[in-house]
Symmetry: C2
Subunit: 337 residues, 2 copies
Amino acid sequence: MRATFMYGPGDVRVENVPDPKIVEATDAIVRITMACVCGSDLHPYHPMDKTDEGAPMGHEFLGVVEETGSAVTGLKRGDFVVSPFAFADNTCPIRRDGFHTACPHGGWYGAGGVGGAQADGTLVKLPAEVDKSLLPSLLALSDAYLTGYHAAHMGRVEAGKTVTVIGDGAVGLSAVLASRRMGAEKIILMGRHTSRTDLGKQWGATDVVAERGEEGIAKVMDLTGGEGSHVVLEAVGLMPAYEQAYGVVRPGGVISRVGVPQYEEAPVGFGSLFGKNASLTGGPAPVRAYLEPAIADVLAGRIDPGRVFDAEVSLAQVADAYKALDDRTNLKVVVRP
Amino acid sequence: MRATFMYGPGDVRVENVPDPKIVEATDAIVRITMACVCGSDLHPYHPMDKTDEGAPMGHEFLGVVEETGSAVTGLKRGDFVVSPFAFADNTCPIRRDGFHTACPHGGWYGAGGVGGAQADGTLVKLPAEVDKSLLPSLLALSDAYLTGYHAAHMGRVEAGKTVTVIGDGAVGLSAVLASRRMGAEKIILMGRHTSRTDLGKQWGATDVVAERGEEGIAKVMDLTGGEGSHVVLEAVGLMPAYEQAYGVVRPGGVISRVGVPQYEEAPVGFGSLFGKNASLTGGPAPVRAYLEPAIADVLAGRIDPGRVFDAEVSLAQVADAYKALDDRTNLKVVVRP
């Protein structure tokens, strides 16, 4: 089969690799029919050290089951499925809490030599006959939308709360959509790409703040009567976004992060979080915990998260997609075999 | 009047200062009848730079109202009162959220030249005739017990959750008592002073872990079936306690801090909080928000938080109390005029 690898800064290649095989009895082999490139796929795009091995890329897909291991009972050859961006066995106590991404038997696609998935615990079957126009929205459930949803869920967004979303990428815009679904009336979107914030407005953002840093913080404070935002959804992962977050959060408010932090240490003391009793929450979205109701929402037309996709490439052109996302020319790109 | 000042490391003095006067119409002057020394009073005891002015100390007291400003309507001369360790006007929107310590019109005793209190918003009247044996428990509401309570409240302690309390000082022990009141059945107390952890056991701790660092983390993981603690209440404020907290918190769990952080930056990235979707919360306790029901609990004998006091000194001996607390000879010391 063909697969995408990154070998160093800006160096993305499609190569032939051996076809996958069932290794564990709980494995499934899935033929990918539709995939996409994630913001987190871009994280190594500049800082990565050159390597001869190449790092396998990608973790969001729709596909068709080709083969299943002997212990797989919930799926069979020919089933159309969607996958969370992390795999899990969906059986342990941590799963009962709804945090599949911390599954001791799970992991991340592309890490530790894993290319497959623990089938029953990870893959969720879709109807065989799905209107083609809904496919992008189903693909968006694999990561982007449900990561935005996770931010809002962990931030305890509800009616009457003011929500500030930092970042106008696919996840930030998805966080706007999810916040609106949870009843938030005032949603401030911090972003400066008009084509993106326009979609944010259609999805429920009531205000857009293009300024960053102290200036952006001052604008949000103005928009909240000087009190700050009950909930801040941070969908970037860089330190300036974190600083904006604790700058605009209201005393007793919540900062919910889903942008993978590109830092380990950050301010949490009296001058940032502690003094105003601000909470910090969030992490990798346990997509598996949210998939079924989200699939129902897409199939019923209640949400249209696939609108984040503004381009499509074939697998052979995937390097172009990385470049377009890095340049901010595109918001999110579908990859077809 | 006489007041306590700190002039440098280990240098605590009682001095004569001018009697307080009503400055704002919302002020009250309170004659202190019973006070105590807080763990946070000890924070500058070693690192403080020598100063000629001296820093005014203390923020927990019971007292009798001597005089009120013209705008004070809820209190009058002769009323017996308890005070939160921070003052607030109790009128702004932040107060409605229950975060009085972030009141834009409030502040900290001893800071910014403030020795008094915004009376109606801060002081809470007690019955004139209180059984003397209950006075220490009422004094403990001024800070220690309700700070421990705040930790448990922000950590969302409830029945069925495992709680780990880091620190066996007055606040940590109070956090055990509050967690038990909130229904926690498994309460692991991390502390190594047997006389203190014994009180913790009487208040509801089911397990005591004397080890620290990696060894202490391993013990807590063992006690929680390898899964970690749903809630961690951090009542120390030093980095090793923070590290223990994220070491023992369960995926999706909460770390609630009430020990004033003696650091500004701390690990919050993938390897500490983010990767396991752990939340970080807490801050200065908005004691005012919790006082009335806690007073009722003390008067009815449902809680006895005054058991943290294990010594009593006169104001003239207050420097001895600081030394005894610094040496860990005493747990918490009452100061009488």
